[in-house]
């Protein structure tokens, strides 16, 4: 058995479960277009009701991302954003909000900082966990050890192509929550959710008792409502990042993104959560 760590993430999902409410996990790329802008946007998101915030660490070669997040990464790198800068941002935010933070990164920047140094710094600034896009349980032994030693959650991805054996591995390696990729593909908003999604989420449920967040392609309140009764949280990324791209200023971005988050959260509250329906 895993030792039960009560992180901010676990506590938030427990509150959601009690309230019978679908959670909203909001992704933005940190440093897009600047770290100062991100600070305002994140606070606006937290206030608008985001339950968990994923902060993307920009990377030069984001091979799992679609055009919207690719461009966000470019903007963030252009303004000089580094992993260290993102950690410092979390530190500043932590003095102002208790919303859980998950660092969302490709492996190389973390590896170059050093796994233990990364975990120590993440814990120190008040981050709650990490999700590394291009690392799977097989290669994650040292990373998990470093993270768990600091009581940080390690979120892993499950995909439509994952076999039962792989789902078991992923469930064992994950803490906090498990992130289900709704479809094969890269990040990016889509009109319709994959038809295979309910079956996929049920398969994942069979492998884990952790909360399940579903992401990739989720952009409309309608998508979020559909996830009620199926998943524990909806992850929205590209649809929020697109608002930043459109906005003329950090202030406008924060306003637009908060409005979007509020609308999505409203849909999440209206959706029946799985827990409630099964109670």
């Amino acid at each position: 058995m895993k030792t039960v760590i009560t992180t901010r993430i676990a506590r938030r999902f427990e509150e959601l479960r009690r309230a019978g409410e679908l959670g909203l996990v909001a992704y933005i790329t940190a440093g897009d277009p600047t770290l100062e802008a991100s600070e305002r946007i994140v606070l606006a998101l937290a206030e608008a009701g985001a339950d968990v915030i994923e902060l993307g660490v920009p990377f030069s070669d984001p091979l799992a991302d679609g055009p919207v997040i690719q461009r966000a990464s470019e903007r963030a790198l252009h303004s000089g954003t580094t992993l260290r800068g993102v950690l410092d941002l979390v530190g500043r935010l932590r003095t102002k909000t208790e919303v859980p933070f998950v660092l969302f990164s490709y492996y190389n920047p973390v590896l170059q900082m050093g796994l233990e140094k990364f975990a120590a710094a993440a814990a120190e600034v008040g981050a709650d966990g990490a999700l590394i896009t291009d690392i799977t349980p097989e290669e994650a032994g040292d990373y998990r050890a470093a993270m768990h030693a600091r009581e940080l959650d390690t979120v892993f991805l499950a995909a439509p192509t994952s076999t039962e054996a792989r789902l078991k591995l992923i469930a064992e390696a994950s803490t906090g929550f498990l992130y289900v990729i709704s479809r094969t593909g890269v990040t990016g908003a889509q009109n319709a959710l994959a038809e295979e999604l309910p079956a996929l989420v049920r398969r994942v449920r069979g492998a884990t008792s952790l909360p399940i967040a579903v992401g990739f392609g989720i952009s409309h309140p309608g998508h979020v409502s559909l996830l009620g009764g199926l998943a524990d949280a909806a992850v929205v990324g590209s649809a929020l990042v697109a608002e930043i791209e459109k906005a003329q200023s950090a202030e406008a971005a924060a306003t637009a993104i908060a409005a979007k988050a509020r609308m999505l959260k409203e849909a999440a509250r209206r959706g029946i959560s799985r827990r409630e329906s099964s109670r």
Binding site: D61, A159, T184
Partner: protein, 403 residues
């Protein structure tokens, strides 16, 4: 060194500490499927027979091992042999791997292949094999490479492949691989990713090596027949490292055979001016172990772990990481890695054209530049085999400027 060297990678795709599998979860099951399919094909004599027949009748294997007598005389040192991969159908070694993976794709029931290409040779070979096997083919290529290797873009289109220009990042090979991986992660159920070098996640570095190992197998038999002994040196250029490992692999157990991989020295030793990942002894900076595009190897990068831009006159060598097996051979000191500058490569291409009547690809010209630098200092009895990985037709627009 002997037997142990031949057992890499281990079951997890590691060459010492290098290699492995660093991909989004969506690609893990497909990589496992590919590994199983490849193992099954390897154990199936009919697969080998089919592949060998295609290599012989369609691609033109075996390729000659030619004594470069006028180049040898011109340099006045070691005896120089050229392994003539440039004579293969499509004009480079790349077809060896494309035929292998193409037949594997058919075996796996995949009707669509995708590929990345830098110099365009892998793209042309992929398009060629797709046409031969009746598969749909999409090739991703950086727009800078489309510009400098224009002839190959036309060849691919003639062969009915769709060439998709990639305008991101440095608009070269690395960016083409990112885009190919995005396609693969999206269409993984119907599509085989025909990766063109000993890069990427396990099992690619091993599988691509195996499909090119025929180069060294032939060369070893050919040199024994011609000289009654093994060569002293093997020299090959290293982009991802497929033609080099193809030549080296069969000789790894022969302790007396020294191996040199030649990277792109570009126009200087600073980060961004070259693509030398392993030639740090020659003063090239910026490479450290890291993860790029599925594998842990030596990568040109900034201190923050962002992948660095690279430069080479040769599109096929212009890439910030190197095959994990080369990182391991370098670390063990089994092979030595050095770099040749843009200028040295162009000079070498001219020298080969005028002494032997062969216009080499700019990639291969990097290997020749090292031969030209070293051979005069070698003893007369010493034997060098250089891998002439491709022919230079595709590079004429660049070479023309230096006539």
């Amino acid at each position: 060194m002997s037997v142990a060297a031949q057992t890499w990678p281990d079951a997890r795709g590691r060459f010492g500490p290098y290699g492995g599998r660093y991909v989004p979860e969506t690609l893990m099951a497909p990589l496992e499927e590919l590994e199983r399919a490849y193992e099954a094909a390897r154990a199936d004599a009919s697969f080998a027979a089919h592949l060998n027949a295609e290599l012989k009748d369609f691609a033109g294997r075996p390729t000659p091992l030619q004594l470069a007598s006028r180049l040898t005389e011109h340099l006045g040192g070691a005896r120089i042999y050229l392994k003539r991969e440039d004579l293969l159908h499509t004009g480079a070694h790349k077809i060896n791997n494309c035929l292998g993976q193409g037949l594997l794709a058919v075996r796996m029931g995949k009707k669509r292949i995708i590929a990345e290409t830098g110099a365009g040779q892998h793209g042309v070979a992929s398009a060629t094999v797709a046409a031969r096997l009746g598969l749909e083919c999409v090739v991703y290529m950086g727009t800078e490479d489309m510009e400098r290797q224009r002839l190959n873009v036309s060849r691919m289109r003639m062969l009915n492949a769709e060439v998709v220009g990639v305008d991101a990042g440095s608009r070269t090979l690395k960016d083409a691989i990112n885009e190919a991986m995005r396609d693969w992660v999206t269409n993984v159920r119907t599509t085989h990713y025909l990766l063109g070098s000993v890069l990427g996640a396990h099992p690619y570095p091993r599988m691509v090596r195996d499909f090119h190992a025929c180069i060294g197998r032939e060369a070893r038999a050919q040199i024994l027949a011609a000289e009654k002994r093994l060569p002293d040196w093997l020299v090959a250029c290293v982009g991802g490292g497929s033609n080099a490992i193809g030549l080296f692999y069969e000789f790894l157990g022969d302790a007396s055979v020294k191996m040199i991989g030649v990277e792109a020295g570009g126009r200087g030793t600073g980060l961004g001016e070259h693509a030398a990942r392993l030639a740090f002894q020659a003063g090239f900076s910026g490479a450290r172990p890291g993860v790029l595009q599925g594998t842990y190897s030596c990568v040109l990068q900034t201190p923050d772990g962002q992948i660095a831009p690279t430069h080479s006159v040769s599109a096929g060598l212009d890439y910030p990481a190197v095959g994990p097996e080369h990182a391991w051979l370098a670390e063990q000191g089994r092979a030595e890695y050095t770099a040749a500058s843009d200028e040295a490569a162009i000079d070498a291409a001219r020298t080969l054209a005028r002494t032997e009547g062969i216009i080499p690809a700019l990639e291969s010209a990097h290997a020749l530049a090292e031969v030209i630098r070293r051979a005069p200092k070698m003893k007369h009895g010493e034997i060098v085999i250089a891998n002439l990985s491709g022919r230079g037709d595709k590079d004429m627009e660049i070479l023309e400027k230096y006539l």
